[in-house]
Amino acid sequence: MTQATMTARERVLRTLKGEKVTPVPCFSGVGNVTTKGLEKLGYRFADLHNNAQMMAEAAMTTWELFGYECVVIPFDLCMEAEALGCVMNPYAETQELLYPTIKEKSKLTTEQLRQAATPELLQRGRIPLVIEAARIVREKVGDQVAIGSYVLGPFTLGGQISELETLLKGSLKKPDDMIDYLDAMADVIVLVGNHLLRNGIDYISVREMGATSDVLSPRVFKKVIFPALKKVADNLASPNILHICGSVLPVIDMMAECGYSALSIDSKTPMKEAREKVGERTVILGNFNPFATLNTGTAEDAYNVAAQCVRDGVNGVHPGCDIWPTAKPENLEAMIRAVRETSV
């Protein structure tokens, strides 16, 4: 099959296998629904999170409207935390467009996490709902486009379930306890991630933004974070992406050493230097700032930023975070056009 006739799904999956795809795919491992997509459906953002049909329809709109090469579900960061007993706030009553957050933390201990890591967990919270949404998407898009999903990394999920401040201090004060806690968290993440990959999800991102080098020293990353991230990589089915935003240059060699199918970085990590550090063999996705590029900039800015990502050697043009719904349609179009028109 020539590259010209490849489906978007193949372009993404081949990229994640380390094959060179030209032009590189333009897709995301994290949420992307636009106000335009929501308007087309007549849905409110706050209503998407608890309804598989609406979640599926909304997730497909960025592909349908703009040719963005993925469908990613869900949109929020609360799925695993809810399954672990936390309570989510969808902000259904507010006028502002807000991403759900955890309003009640279950504060499970290491022991409780180990007990929770059984197949029964997979029936809790919205995990079945997300799988149902994946089924609905697949029925509609077939093999045309890849369906992505994500789980939080061990430290970041820990921050949803417990007080982040306790975990941050624990990483210095009681590193051995933290290593044990994150090890238990890794089992939960592998369980949920593999379940998603077995049930209609084509690729999965592990989002460990809480452990960015803006927050934790490379020393703590190596000692406390790395073992759990490596455990996830060793046990999670492929294809998988490790995503950490912020400046991760000091730890990118360790990220690569974990062994994920690909790494995803954001605009605070310079691509050329990242590439120098990890070499050609690591698939790197990145690295534009979605808010500055798609929401506040002009279409021309968006075109230039995306083209620059390609010239800097990314294997896929990937946002550093969720695409915020108010992204300008003309900017999204310009970004996707730039990726198609730019070659290295």
């Binding site: 502002e96 807000l98 401040e165 941050l168 210095l172 004060k173 927050v215 703590v220 808010f291 969720d322």
Partner: protein, 229 residues
């Protein structure tokens, strides 16, 4: 028993180093010894604890310290502050102000906000902390209730930052003299202007400096207004 100058500088060093190295016991003992001497604790707070926190800020900027180190140092500082503050002789510095502070709705990240709050606590501001994920109109309510000089809004995410201009507009409409400071990872000087805020700061020490400046300028405005009446 009064402290001689050698003992004083020894205790100040202990307080400062104790904060920098998060030696809680060191800080506790030194603070207690200072209090037991019966001396005013003003110097112990500012030349000991705060000097330590300034060093922590420097180490943070130099990327030798990260967030966990900052949090541990803040804990040590509060241990000392709880012991020393009740014994501080009040000073009429003319800059004591009232601050309402919180993280805006949709954002549950409050670590940065707590560090800034700590600096206000140290400096003797009256601080009303609304916590995190604060409904936008609650900032206005609290400002009106306390008639605070300053409102500080924090956001760690670009997306939740978008709630800030709404709060600023609500407050400025009711109380144009109220000064508004915004902070957090996505905030730049450019955004301060766009959102109609009065200031931001690159770290907690600078936030305190800005706040003091704001209160001084507010007091001048009030003085002028009173003179006209």
């Amino acid at each position: 028993m009064a402290l001689d100058s050698a003992k004083k500088s020894e205790l100040l060093k202990k307080l400062e180093q104790g904060v920098v190295e998060f030696e809680d016991d060191e800080v506790r003992d030194a603070a207690q010894e200072w209090v037991d001497s019966g001396e005013d604790t003003y110097d112990a707070i500012f030349d000991g604890l705060v000097a330590g926190m300034e060093e922590v800020g420097r180490l943070f900027s130099a990327q030798e310290y990260f967030v966990p180190e900052m949090l541990m140092a803040a804990d040590s500082l509060y241990i000392g502050l709880d012991i020393l503050k009740p014994h501080m002789v009040a000073r009429d510095s003319g800059v004591k102000g009232t601050v309402v502070i919180g993280t805006v709705q949709g954002d549950v990240h409050d670590i940065g906000k707590n560090i800034v709050k700590m600096m206000f606590d140290v400096a003797g501001f009256n601080v009303y902390d609304l916590g995190r994920d604060v409904a936008l109109e609650d900032f206005l309510k609290k400002q009106l209730e306390t008639n605070s000089d300053i409102v500080c809004l924090s956001a760690m995410m670009t997306t939740t930052m978008m709630g800030m201009p709404k709060v600023i507009e609500m407050i400025k409409e009711k109380n144009p003299n109220c000064r508004i400071m915004i902070g957090g990872a996505p905030i730049t000087d450019d955004i301060v202007g766009k959102f109609g805020a009065d200031a931001t700061a690159k770290d907690a020490s600078n936030a305190l400096e800005e706040a003091v400046k704001m209160v001084v300028s507010l007091r001048e405005i009030q003085k002028e207004a009173n003179a006209k009446n």
